[in-house]
Symmetry: C2
């Protein structure tokens, strides 16, 4: 298993990326070989200082970096030697089995769609967020931003993808699925929610429990909550702001601490043919480590094969 990591992506790269690699190698039992993609000259002293087991990683040199605010398509086209471009090239050609970056999100999305494509039958790949819940567990909310306008069929597919992720990665045995809505009863909501409800209700593989409301997001009413990416993104960013509020208000509470989304690592692009994980720009060592762990889990659990089987039917 070879996991590729963009060492130049994110606000604190490459320092925190190297720290994350060290944290992973020091604390996680792993068969994975890490392929570190980045500027050799910048990485060499950091890697040397970190005193890593050299059998556990190799470095692939990249001479360019795509900046956080560059235009994704343009940057990918013009910077073929960037760490993100090289990462997708390695992934496409099978030289790595997963690719992780905390760099330019748009470039990661475009790169994903251009190089490795969607799994057959998946209309819209999606990104999700873990939701810290009051009972200590993690829920899953999707889509959180790449599909701002959706059809009911898209939301049905998000529910399937989310259920598989919840089952195999979050270890929820029979994950409940809720439709984010503005009322509890069937028939409530906007046109999209009204059209989605019967699709979720009738799908044989989903453990659909009906509508959930804004108040249910944090309380754990459903293990997987589906919505279009507009509302999901607003909910995610509002949840992220709770961490800032807790810090600013000097609120010391274990639950509020869990809104530090940085600690979760990154989000996989669900529904594409190989594991791609996109990290937050502010990722630090723990986030990088967690993203490597997630890539390893996605490979070990054969999540993508399970998604493929589900969509072949």
């Amino acid at each position: 298993m070879r996991i590729g990591l963009d060492m130049m992506g994110g606000d604190y790269a490459p320092v925190e990326a190297v720290k994350g690699v060290k944290l992973f190698l020091d604390t996680v039992a792993a068969d994975a070989h890490l392929v570190l993609i980045g500027d050799e000259a910048a990485l060499a002293p950091l890697l040397s200082e970190a005193q890593l087991d050299q059998s556990k990683y190799s470095v692939v040199h990249s001479s360019q970096v795509i900046g956080m605010n560059e235009h994704p398509t343009k940057a990918l086209k013009e910077k073929q030697h960037s760490s993100i471009s090289i990462g997708f090239h390695l992934l496409q050609s099978g030289k790595i089995d997963a690719f992780i970056s905390a760099g330019n999100t748009g470039a990661m999305m475009v790169g994903t769609f251009y190089s490795i494509k969607a799994i057959e039958g998946v209309q819209r790949p999606t990104i999700s967020t873990p939701v810290p819940r009051l009972d200590g567990s993690l829920g899953l909310l999707l889509d959180v931003g790449i599909n701002a306008d959706c059809k009911a069929e898209n939301l049905l597919q998000f529910a399937i993808l989310g259920s598989l992720y919840s089952r195999h990665i979050l270890n929820v045995s029979n994950p409940t699925v809720g439709l984010l809505n503005i009322g509890e009863e069937e028939g409530k909501g906007n046109l999209l929610a009204q059209a989605t409800y019967p699709l979720l209700k009738e799908h044989p593989e989903l453990n659909f429990i009906g509508n959930v409301e804004g108040r249910d997001v944090l309380t754990g009413k459903a293990d997987v909550i589906v919505c279009e990416g507009f509302t999901g993104n607003v909910v995610l960013k509002m949840a992220e702001s709770l961490h800032d509020i807790a810090v600013q208000r000097n609120i010391n509470d274990e639950y509020m601490d869990r809104f530090n989304f940085q600690s979760y690592g990154g989000t996989p692009v669900l529904g594409v043919s190989k594991p791609v994980i996109i990290g937050h720009g502010i990722s630090k060592d723990t986030a990088f480590k967690n993203m490597i762990v997630l890539a390893q889990q996605m490979i070990e659990t054969k999540l993508l094969e399970k998604i493929r089987e589900s969509f072949v039917k």
Copy 2:
């Protein structure tokens, strides 16, 4: 000035409604005469016990109550002697200048649209919520649920209505308006947000500051935040749940306390020709008092005339 109050609406009526009336009369300097609509037999002992100044109120008897879960249209049609039906009748005929109820929200909406109608030029009346902000002030978010599917023109009108409300009721001198969106730059977002942005930008009466994101809702980036009612409702209910979370986690923080939405009273239906205020079902005395205060403010500031002038242009 005569303000009508449904004494039978809400989970704790009529006891808390009477307490709210007492709180209002005891603590607020008011020229308002209160018209208390409810079951005389039920109200008499409570009013007597409260020892209110009898010149400040009168009672209008209603022999029926519309339950919280009754079908709105059906209930209004079949229960002509309910407190809500009588309230709208009094409002329509000019015997009261404002009507307040914490009862069946659907019946309040239907009653509003059937009896007093929208102000000319307003396509979709709207409801809003105050947003407790970190700096201690209150923002305004709208729509929060009655318009789940919207066009860009509707959001433009919400922005105008919200700005007038913010200026005249919340005393913000030149309220900033933000479009709730999933990115900062113009051009981001779903189709609705993309279509709405230029309308807000070009409107001469709006102090439009661009897109705001989920993380900006609680931090006060804009005084008025507009969105369709689906996202707005999810945001509102998620914000409401923060109060439950603070209670459950035993978090004692002044800012978190302010997510007890019950204390704000109710929401006016903005864009209709007379003041109608809808309270939360769980309203208690402070909520009832605050709704009466709000009705009084709406009348004193001539808010509805200002809305009318704005939409005549």
